[in-house]
């Protein structure tokens, strides 16, 4: 399909551009290590005072941090930078160049900007996750691994949709250039299992900003805390979010191009 091929070429160009700046690798490694170090230190501090946090053992929390880093890396790799580029494109009018290309605009804007070195976050996250799972000692069978894969993908899809919706608001709210920062702040809260948050805050984290689905749920899948119902809900929610984001995107696009909305 032509759209996919164009998107792939765009993606490839982004990667090649990013690769020009090799110094970024060293910097990114430093930043990833600092980021994961802070998170793990926080966990260590908590567990110096207790052995269970809302029923979670230290290894489970370390695994949570691993998933946190993996998802952060996946988001930072292509989704977040592309959404920032999209908002900038709306503001500066450069979005027009994308719209005149013979391919699906949503696909093109979603892979426009690649921060190749964010893959380091993913790598660091994987290392931490594997370490935690090994320490847990439970056997992670294929059923858990599969569940993990599914809910992780679903979680990323949910967050992608959420970010796209936020970025689409740029069609109307031009002054809200930092709207994606909301997400960044909420994402920080995902460093801890949502179970510790009082119900009113939990709702905000799960429904309004679906951070919990992307982080807590996958690690629960690996540690066997997950029920089938939750998996089903997560995947269903992912589908619903994707549909809603697509609809809102097309709505916004019609408004932007001046068609009656």
């Amino acid at each position: 399909m032509r759209s996919v091929r164009l998107a792939w070429l765009s993606f490839r160009l982004g990667v090649l551009t990013a690769l020009q700046y090799r110094a970024n690798l060293a910097i990114q490694l430093l930043q990833s290590l600092m980021s994961v170090g802070v998170a793990l230190a926080g966990v260590a501090l908590v567990y110096s005072q207790t052995s269970r946090l809302a029923g979670w053992r230290q290894e489970e929390l370390v695994g949570l941090i691993g998933v946190y880093m993996i998802v952060a890396g996946l988001l930072g790799l292509v989704i977040r930078p592309s959404m920032e580029r999209l908002m900038e494109g709306v503001r500066l009018g450069t979005l027009d160049f994308t719209l005149t290309k013979p391919a699906d605009a949503q696909l093109l804007v979603s892979v426009k900007q690649v921060e190749v070195w964010k893959a380091v976050d993913v790598a660091v996250g994987v290392v931490v996750l594997v370490f935690a799972v090994l320490r847990l000692g439970d056997r992670v069978g294929p059923d858990r691994a599969l569940a993990f894969g599914f809910v992780l993908a679903a979680g990323v899809a949910i967050i992608y949709s959420f970010l796209l919706i936020l970025a689409t608001m740029a069609f109307w709210l031009v002054r809200l250039e930092n709207i994606l920062v909301i997400f960044g702040s909420m994402y920080e809260a995902g460093k801890w299992p949502i179970g510790i948050y009082p119900p009113w805050l939990r709702v905000a984290l799960t429904l309004v900003v679906p951070v919990a689905f992307a982080i807590t749920v996958p690690i629960e899948a690996l540690t066997g805390r997950l029920e089938i119902a939750t998996i089903a809900v997560t995947i269903g929610l992912a589908a619903a979010f994707l549909v809603a984001a697509r609809w809102f995107w097309r709505f916004g696009l019609r408004h932007y191009t001046g068609a009656s909305a």
Binding site: G42, L173, I196
Partner: protein, 267 residues
């Protein structure tokens, strides 16, 4: 001096108008500033409750008190300029500031204070809500409230000077992102932002005592909680004043050297 006051007055007026025009963006930054202490609050009250009421000398209520005070102190001391120095230098945005017969620091101070004034109107009610919702307990005596105001009043210029001087590193180093992040990490731990310093291993507490970060955030919070004796409070003031004096000197030197190096790039 009266000229400077007139400049501040005029700058406040324009800055207020500009920031109000961007109140949506302001609200978003506010969410970011406010969320971290809330998360820590939830985490530590959970820990305390899980351990039968208290941990490291703090009950759940005292943790709530700590983090709500931290919320206020952080909002009033926080600065953002060091994240943008590199961009400002690169885009030549410092040039107009350097051409004015006023030190550029005043421009940033005015912007910073305006932001705090505007967002404070939201933060205070939020803090009150949290105090109620999480049952924060304070053991503060009246004199300690006054001491808190003084500690806060000293912490604000202290943190501003430190972070503004840090920003000036951008005159020499082109990629300050990592440095700024490293600073934030150190700040997180040693300023009592992540958790009360009392919970850290003694080695870390010793380091924290000789660095300025504690005096930027943790010290005013501890005063507000009523946990410090008069002699400790006075010693704290002395430390704050000493650090401020030292930083003013460093800032002047760094800034003078930095502007020497600054080449206004672009057209």
């Amino acid at each position: 001096m009266s000229r400077l006051l007139a400049v501040y007055r005029a700058k406040f007026r324009t800055e207020l108008a500009i920031q109000l025009a961007y109140r949506g963006a302001l609200a978003i930054w506010l969410i970011g500033i406010v969320l971290e202490p809330i998360v820590s609050l939830v985490v530590w009250t959970t820990v305390a409750n899980g351990q039968g009421g208290a941990v490291g000398g703090f009950t759940a209520g005292e943790f709530a008190a700590y983090f709500t005070s931290l919320l206020i102190v952080n909002q009033l001391t926080f600065t953002w300029h060091f994240w943008f120095f590199e961009w400002r230098i690169r885009e030549g945005f410092f040039s107009p500031l350097l051409l004015r017969p006023v030190h550029p620091i005043h421009n940033d101070v005015a912007e910073n204070l305006t932001f705090k004034l505007l967002t404070g109107t939201i933060v205070v009610p939020v803090a009150i809500f949290l105090v109620v919702a999480f049952g924060a307990t304070f053991q503060t005596q009246p004199w300690q409230i006054a001491a808190f105001v003084v500690a806060l009043g000293l912490a604000m210029p202290l943190r501003f000077l430190a972070e503004w001087t840090l920003g000036a590193a951008a005159f020499w180093i082109t990629r300050t992102g990592a440095i700024n992040q490293a600073y934030s990490v150190v700040m997180l731990f040693l300023s009592g932002f992540l958790a009360p310093l009392a919970l850290f291993p003694p080695a870390i507490q010793a380091v924290a005592a000789v660095l300025p970060f504690r005096w930027m955030v943790a010290f005013p919070v501890e005063v507000a909680l009523g946990r410090l004796a008069p002699d400790q409070v006075l010693a704290g003031f002395a430390a704050q004043l000493a650090w401020i004096a030292g930083l003013v000197l460093v800032m002047r030197v760094v800034w003078a050297a930095g502007t020497r190096r600054y080449s206004a790039v672009g057209a």
